[in-house]
Symmetry: C2
Subunit: 275 residues, 2 copies
């Protein structure tokens, strides 16, 4: 790369850091990249750090010493997170979302990458300082949120299947009871998808009693892996907390009530904002 | 926002543009945001444009006039795309990927958000100037690539399901013949997921004869929607071109041969690089 001026360096360093979250970048990487002194790079980083913090985009961690460098930790400020979730709640309350059986149509929202990325940033903020090896979800609707979260945390995604697929190789299957219907389902995970002792962040789009997520927790036990956290986009508030199979989770929004007769849906910010 | 210096503006404008690809941003948005003159903003944009082009990150389109502004079009340079795909081919050729029946284990690669994002950027580059309303895929393995592509193009994703789900409302179902097994399957799309006349980019992780993608094309006809393009991560080269149901598509990689006995896999860059 040709020698850049400070103004050009700032543009390139910003895109470089944003593209590599949760990755330690030695100052020499930048110094070599731009043919600049480390002291100039440090000054550049100070400017970027200030703007990122001012804008509520996250932290730039600077580590001194030989093994040192800089690491971008994406974080959405509480204020920006709440703005986003209140807008999301507004959309979820649109009365034409009500489906037969009191289900809520959410696929249009789950289909918006920018929305999923923003929600993923909030979950990644909540777990930014937790020791995690991998993000897990079960097909299908939680996949975009799981990837958005994992991208921010710089982690791989492990995908649990409903059926055992030929393209997955040998797999471990378990049965689980879905809380909302008390019916038995199967889920399955490729043996090579997850290392033993992995610390796993479970992400899903919706949680009612938590049967599906409890199924993933049980599956983790088969791999001697550990739950490092649980994050969901929407939880159902129409469930008594003693009926809930899971107590330790974060939710971005809480669906309080769906009244099919009056076509009223009530959604409020989730427990993420009550911590 | 407080008044920023040029150096701070450059950092913030860079992150702002990267976060909003394919979105026209009026210069007044920046001028108001930073309390700066439009002429200063134009100078800032010239610096960002130069760095983006130099780095092969994409174009900054500047539109003059009252309805004008700036638009960031993410594009991966041919050189960076080929580097990426050659690395991908190397990974796909690892002999322990061979599964019974000559299938290839790819879930670990599909599970890496950074890899999917880069592949999505290449597909988005190919279709950057096509008129597209929505990206479509069928569950499950193509979902991350579809979202990565859609995020770069600033488009929503429409997800075709294998079964008709209660959370999708009324749906249109079709049967299709999967080319590789000549077996009949069903796919289904929620009626409210897609507007009539939509122009649709179909994205998937793998294509052999193209039966699944042809199924999506047939489904689009039911919605009076149109195919605007087809992009796949890997195509199978073990198929005669007259057997292929589909001729107009781009692939990033081509799986030439899987020899289960000698444990040899041959993968080369796809037709994207032959244009």
């Amino acid at each position: 790369m040709k020698k850049l001026k400070r103004s050009e360096r700032l543009v390139d360093m910003t895109q470089f850091l944003l593209a590599k979250p949760h990755t330690l970048i030695p100052l020499t990487t930048f110094a070599d990249r731009y043919g600049a002194a480390k002291s100039s790079i440090s000054e550049d980083l100070a400017i970027i750090k200030e703007v990122f913090e001012e804008e509520g985009l996250g932290e730039l961690q600077t580590l001194a010493g030989a093994a040192g460098g800089v690491r971008y930790i994406p974080k959405l400020s509480q204020e920006r997170a709440l703005d986003f979730v209140q807008e999301l709640c507004g959309k979820l309350q649109q009365s034409d979302r009500i489906l037969p059986g009191g289900y809520l149509y959410m696929s249009d929202l789950l289909g918006q990458p920018s929305l999923m990325n923003e929600a993923g940033k909030i979950i990644a903020t909540a777990f930014a300082h937790r020791d995690i090896d991998v993000v897990m979800t079960v097909e299908t609707k939680g996949i975009p949120l799981a990837y958005a979260t994992a991208a921010q945390l710089n982690l791989p995604v492990v995908l649990v299947r409903r059926d055992h697929q030929v393209t997955e190789g040998s797999a471990v299957s378990i049965n689980y009871v879905s809380g909302s219907h008390k019916s038995i389902h199967t889920m399955s995970l490729s043996r090579r998808a997850l290392r033993e002792q992995s610390r796993v962040l479970i992400v899903d789009d919706f949680m009612k009693a938590g049967g599906t997520i409890q199924g993933m927790v049980d599956l983790l036990a088969e791999f001697n892996a550990e739950v490092a956290g649980v994050g969901v986009l929407v939880e159902s508030g129409a469930i008594e907390s003693q009926e809930r199979l899971l107590q330790d989770y974060i939710s971005l929004a809480c669906l309080n009530d769906v009244d099919a007769r009056s076509k009223m849906i009530t959604v409020r910010p989730g427990n993420y904002f009550q911590q």
